[in-house]
Amino acid sequence: MTQAVTVSADLEVAGLGRSLWGDAVHRLRRDPLAAACFAVIVLYVVVAVWASWAYADFEKTQNYAERNQAPSASHWLGTDVFGRDVLAKTLLGAKVSMTVGAMANVIAVPLGLILGVIAGYFGKWVDDVVVWLYTTMASIPGIIRLIAIKYAFDNVVLFEGSRFELDLGGIHGLYIALGVMSWIGTCRLVRAETFKIKSLDYVTAARALGQGGFRIVFRHIVPNLFHIAIIQFTLGFVGAVAAEVILSFLGLGVEVGTPSWGTMINAARLDLVVGRWWEVTAACGAMFAIVLALNIFGDRLRDALDPRLRT
């Protein structure tokens, strides 16, 4: 770090003499598209927090006098079949999407990181077990895996009656299903990277100094894998948001009545035919914007954080 201070201005411009993270932030800032996408993501998060506070009593706003109204000055995106404001519903859907995306990856990424690094570092039977575990799970393809686990969770309530009661039939089950089902990609990447890192000199040096396996893994190897974790978090977010919409659409996602883009599309799937386009359009449009922003930002982030991909 002391070196960075003395680096000349020329090197600064060339992007040298900065840490990986400093360089990545610098690159992303200079990229207007990445910055715009990041702004969209932040906006969605802010909206999600704000909507859950502003529309706390959304369920009670049913108004049968104003059912199925087209967009107007008082309801910018029209009203749904119960006379509720579609704009409010869409913004509340952002809350579900953002929490599901975040929670699923809060479970999946550390799980994949830890299993991957342990398999890669210790090798032998540990590696065999982890590889068996993820090939097994990966062999049930994508959405079918999620449908199966949500089916199993339908009537399951963990810690029933206690303070920590968790009804896995609803959104908590969704977090867990997405979390335990989407660590595979992270695990594969981390395992392959650990194989490379563990033969580097500095790891050998740490071992020669007599440090234990777990200490080497968590002090010396894991910090060098954080960039993979961050990239996987962003890309995994897209997958979780899309999966939530499809599962909710199929009735396997959030509890019935929770405003989410998937339930909105499901509720309005026959509306299009009679010309009520606003609810479906609002949900699809909201989803399109966040998925686009996350995809582009994730790609740019990967380019910025993974030096091998630089051209």
Partner: protein
Amino acid sequence: MGAYVVRRLVQSVFTIFGVMLLTFLLFRVVAGEIASAHLGPRATAKQLAEWRAKHGYDKPLLINRNAGEPWYDTQFLSYMTRVPAFQTRSVITNERLLDIIIERAPYSLAITVPAMALGWVLAMIVATIVAYYRASLIDHVGVFLAVLGMCVPYLAFIMAGQMLMFRVAPRLAYGLASPFSIYVPVAIAVIAGLGGGVRFYRTVIVDEANRDYVRTARAKGVPLPGVMFKHILRNCMLPILTNLVLAIPFLIMGSLLLETFFGIPGLGDLLLSSITNRDEPIVSGLTYLTALIYTLGVLLTDVLYAVFDPRVQLT
């Protein structure tokens, strides 16, 4: 070579065993009771017990401790022996899964085979063009459109397509009334998958085009189309074929959403209705089917890699 194939086969058996273990744990242990779901909340204890006995849910899960019965006479054993050969029976209609699959799979294949073939050809053509003009305006516009297409929700494609058909030709918008009905979901699947396909194939082609041997070929004067078709595309085939093989499970299962929307009685539609009806033997059988096909597909690709690419070492 022989030893490699045998070892990969043994690994696949372990994977399939793992899948069955996982589905058994999920559907029988985690999901728990399904008798009351089928008989309703007012069923008596006797009715529930009869239902369980009829469908084999009365046995112990893992170890039989009942006096006079062998320890291995359990749900686990019957699950492990029936699921692999698709001998489970629906708890609702009592049909054997194998018969259901034979009856329904053609509908799924009728959508997915043309969709995959057509989608692949189209995506390859567009990707080749875009990669050929890489770093030019055509490339930038192409990639931009592909990313946009990837981000439109799949449900939006389906609903817009069905809506359009209701306006243009209502007869084709639902069911199988006309022989042309099947082409509507096919077209939707092709269009919805195009963005992701183009982007993936473009990346593969551009990666290959940046290699040294391509530069050598161009330096010695091979014309650009020759480089593209004779050198680059041939070397891209392995990753592209892998990607295709990995999509095979979806060939069999069909597109879950398309089948539901268009009322096509395929396997995807069966899976979703079995989930709703809590028809556990069908759900577990179909999950196993997809895993089996996927595993066999991966096995086949690995072996073909070893056969066709001399650089791949058999380890």
